[in-house]
Amino acid sequence: MAKTANSVLVDMTRCIGCRGCQIACKAWNERSARKTVMYGNFTNPTDLNSDCFTNVRFVENGNGKTPVWSFVKNQCLHCQDPSCASVCPVAAFRKSDEGPVTYDYERCIGCRYCMLACPFEVPKYEWEKLLPAVQKCTFCAERIQDGLLPSCIKTCPTKTMFFGKREDVVAEAKRRIASAPGKYVNHVYGIEEAGGTSWLYISSVPFGELGFNMDVPKVQLPGLTWSYISSIPAVIGVVLVAGVGSWVVTRRNEVKEKEGGKEDRP
């Protein structure tokens, strides 16, 4: 599944920070606008929220006299083995064969374990609503099913995003890094992070300086909880054997005591 699933390469050297993707995303997903405030940076809004599935982070790396701007498109990375899908008690989150990690509001009980578990802090909650939904980038799953590009990719004027099957996207990322020596950092973010993501990044600035989470484990996180869950049958066996065993033994001792005339109860 993983190899044929859709994937995206974000080549951050191509992004000009126009934020057309933010607008296209909001329009296609019919998310309402929120009032924001000027706080000394051009990133707006500062974080993803339940009405904002993607934003462009403006990062200034001024080493010396001229500031160097980097623009980081930020959205759900659509992990290949997503934590959100594994932790959801009612399977509201699922990884589809086409690549998108989808959410089914009708199943959701609102426990928000997905928000805790996501290594990239992507799922956001409609706190202000009485019956809130979890919201995040959908990878435009319906558009992909209809053979269309996701709306952010469709609208991007500089072709910052390269859309394709994952193995082609990985190959393209490596080809770009190899074909322009010195231009890129030799790292494709998302090949190993969280055990592999559908959205991959290449950059000319080290990822750590761009606010990327460099502490994300390089393993598929659901394995951590599965190692516990898969041990449950063994625990059941041990507790049952120990419980029944001690009951049988202590019962037998009691019967013996009674037979031996040591019984002291009326």
């Binding site: 932790v87 009612v90 399977a91 578990a117 989470n213 449950i232 625990v235 049952l240 029944v244 019962r251």
Partner: protein, 383 residues
């Protein structure tokens, strides 16, 4: 016979009870407000802090407090330790109350309270939360069954009492199984956040640590409530029960201390404890209250020989394990969650609900002591 078993001589209205009722009424009002206005209006939870004190204190803490139920029931019914028979009913009632309150807290905390039954039909065996949900449902049912003889006796349904007593051993075994799994599963919930939870608390054996600390908390709760009810309801209890519980507590606490030290040395290292960071200080407070002080008092002083001394030790352990749940659920995650500037401090409404649930626990216990054959040492079906 049986009517003598109930505590009809317990006074209904005391200043403490009146205070409890007031706290409960205030909490009830807040709960109604939360159900008609939503989480955003009633809590300070936000996108960076999706879980707050309703989860860390009411659910994680409440369930840990309930561990006494399966421990005492197993000791009496599976290990045949008859000495503890007189405290079986209070222990089971405490567990039942603990789970009922955790369920109320969950109803308050989840965004879609009316869908609380979804995990029962929408299975997802890869999810620890699903495992937790199934355990809550099954174990609460089991506890209701373990509790039912008290009610049946009061109602005079002797046939029903006998029927339940007949199946009690398998029911207790099933309950013990569910408890062991549920206590450890609550720790397993946090296995998926290695990069977020501070290394003071994150390690691959978190489920086992939750189980062992819940046993400590359970033993302390049973000891505490037996001492308190013996005093308040003037109900005589054999001192041997308390010293037995204290000995068990000392053993489990010693084991827990060794475990915690092992994970400290192999994890963040001993030096990290004295770094002065918020996590280090919370870890120190937790360790001092939950194991170091209780162990020192239990092993090195004569405190375990007096009820007041034991009461003090029980309070230390309960507070310490509660702080452990707060550390895992909130403080250990705080630094990571606050990286982009958002913070979390519970709203007054979150506090009001938490206090109301604690008051409700005491109130139900008192009402049960007054109206049910709770503190009786013999049951109607025994010969």
């Amino acid at each position: 016979m049986k009517t003598n078993n109930t505590g009809n001589d317990i006074r209904m209205w005391t200043p403490a009870t009146a205070a409890m009722v007031l706290v409960m009424l205030a909490g009830l009002g807040v709960m109604v407000y939360r159900l008609i206005s939503g989480l955003g209006a009633s809590t300070h939870l936000n996108d960076n802090f999706p879980w707050g004190i309703w989860l860390a204190v009411d659910v994680l803490g409440g369930v840990a407090m309930a561990a006494g139920g399966f421990i005492i029931a197993s000791m009496v019914y599976l290990f045949n330790m008859k000495k503890y028979k007189p405290i079986t009913r209070p222990a089971i009632l405490t567990a039942f109350i603990g789970y009922l309150l955790a369920i109320v807290a969950i109803i308050m905390d989840i965004g879609q309270p009316h869908r609380i039954w979804h995990p029962a039909v929408m299975w997802q065996i890869r999810s620890v939360m699903w495992v937790v949900a199934i355990h809550v449902m099954l174990y609460t049912t089991t506890l209701a069954l373990e509790f039912s003889p008290m009610l049946f006796e009061r109602l005079g349904w002797h046939g029903a009492v006998k029927t339940v007593q007949k199946i009690m051993v398998p029911v207790v075994l099933f309950g013990a199984l569910l408890s062991v799994l549920h206590q450890s599963s609550l720790g397993a919930v946090f296995l998926i956040v290695p990069g977020k939870l501070s290394p003071f608390w994150y390690n691959s054996k978190l489920p086992f640590l939750f189980l062992v600390s819940a046993v400590m908390m359970g033993l302390s709760m049973v000891s505490l409530e037996t001492i308190l009810s013996a005093r308040i309801f003037r109900h005589p209890v054999d001192m041997g029960i308390f010293t037995g519980l204290a000995r068990a507590l000392a053993g489990v606490a010693l084991f827990y201390f060794v475990l915690k030290m092992y994970f400290l040395v192999t994890g963040p290292g001993v030096a990290a404890v004295f770094s002065g960071s918020m996590e280090a200080n919370m870890y120190l407070i937790e360790m001092a209250l939950s194991v170091i002080l209780p162990l020192a008092l239990l092993l090195g002083t004569k405190m375990k020989e007096s009820l007041s001394g034991l009461l003090f030790i029980d309070v230390l352990v309960i507070a310490g394990v509660l702080i452990n749940r707060l550390n895992v659920g909130i403080f250990g995650l705080y630094r990571h969650n606050a990286t982009n500037g958002q913070t979390y401090f519970p709203s007054w409404m979150e506090f009001a609900v938490t206090f109301a649930l604690i008051a409700l626990a005491f109130f139900i216990f008192k009402m049960a002591a007054r109206h049910l054959p709770l503190l009786s040492s013999e049951t109607a079906s025994e010969h």
